[in-house]
């Protein structure tokens, strides 16, 4: 009846729908790690990512009745996680001063803002500075491009899995990834060009 990381479809959906605690415990044991890592991919602050990951399972508990039988529970959980992460990012951005004025300006022209509270435990120390710059650049991407980039580059998902998770076609995923990479390159070029260490 139950489970293993490689066989997520064997999770007892009926027991989940009956709000069985043991079934939820198994669900969390099975997907806790991947959901946490996904959240870290979008929100690179360990405490926040943990909090969001817990909320994902609470949301799953509350709305398990909406889960269609035959669908992939992992894909469903990933969707909840992605939505929760962006809700969190919107909430934190709202708290920043002048947030109201930000949409008035072209996102491409905004300089990269390096987060001071960056603490991704999955990044080795020597890559930390580059990762900070990357995350700062990713913040300026539109949500769907950022999601595609995180799922492909950080979660190692293939185009088909990403298309199922994001409910878009495979060709759309390709286009999103292409645009995300192009936008990141442009952004990073501006950042490094303005970085004093390169100026002669």
């Amino acid at each position: 009846m139950l489970i293993g990381y490689s066989m997520p479809l064997e999770i007892d959906i009926l027991a989940l729908k009956n709000k069985d605690e043991d079934a939820f415990r198994v669900l969390i044991d099975t997907f806790g790690k991947s959901i946490f890592n996904l959240c870290l991919g979008i929100v690179p602050i360990a405490e926040d990512a943990e909090d969001i990951s817990q909320e994902v399972f609470i949301e799953a508990f509350k709305s398990i009745h909406t889960f269609r039988e035959g669908a992939h529970i992992k894909t469903w959980l990933y969707r909840i996680a992605i939505n929760k992460c962006y809700d969190h990012l919107k909430w934190t951005k709202r708290k920043k001063r002048y947030a109201l004025l930000q949409p008035l300006f072209n996102k491409d022209e905004e300089p990269i803002e390096i987060p001071s509270n960056f603490q991704h435990p999955g990044i080795v120390l020597e890559n930390k500075e580059h990762a900070k710059v990357l995350y700062a650049a990713m913040e300026s991407l539109p949500e769907n491009q950022n999601t595609a980039f995180v799922l492909y580059e950080m979660q190692g998902m293939n185009y088909k899995e990403i298309s199922e998770t994001m409910s878009v076609s495979v060709s759309s995923v390709e286009a999103l990834l292409f645009r995300a990479r192009a936008a990141l390159r442009k952004k990073l070029h501006t950042y490094y060009y303005n970085n004093t260490s390169f100026k002669k």
Partner: protein
């Protein structure tokens, strides 16, 4: 030229960090903590007090608005009181001491002639 090469190298290295992120284990006691929060969520009333309060405030505001609109449309238009002023009232208003109907009639007749 060298600067451009440096920039390209840095961009590649920065983009490369995305692939180099090691998946890490879920935090300690993650399942237990989540289960506790799920149990707490289970015990929460279906509608929380704050939601009820907000709903009540909205309903009160709607009722007040509806009552105001109803009051405005249903109340009769204010009627101007009928004024029946006599020549004496006019005299009083303008503080004219020696005026009478005869005087006024004479004045009118003369004007007509």
């Amino acid at each position: 030229m060298e600067t451009n090469n440096n920039i390209e190298r840095e961009i590649e290295r920065t983009l490369g960090t995305a692939k180099g992120i090691t998946p890490i284990s879920a935090p300690v006691q993650f399942t237990e903590k989540t289960m506790q929060r799920i149990r707490a969520a289970k015990e929460e009333p279906f509608i929380s007090a704050s939601v009820l309060l907000k709903a009540a405030a909205v309903i009160i505001l709607i009722c007040l608005n509806a009552y105001t609109i109803k009051y405005v449309f249903e109340s009769p238009a204010p009627q101007t009181p009928m004024v029946t002023a006599t020549i004496d009232d006019l005299a009083n208003d303008y503080q004219v001491a020696d005026v009478s109907n005869d005087w006024l009639n004479n004045k009118t007749t003369k004007n007509h002639e």
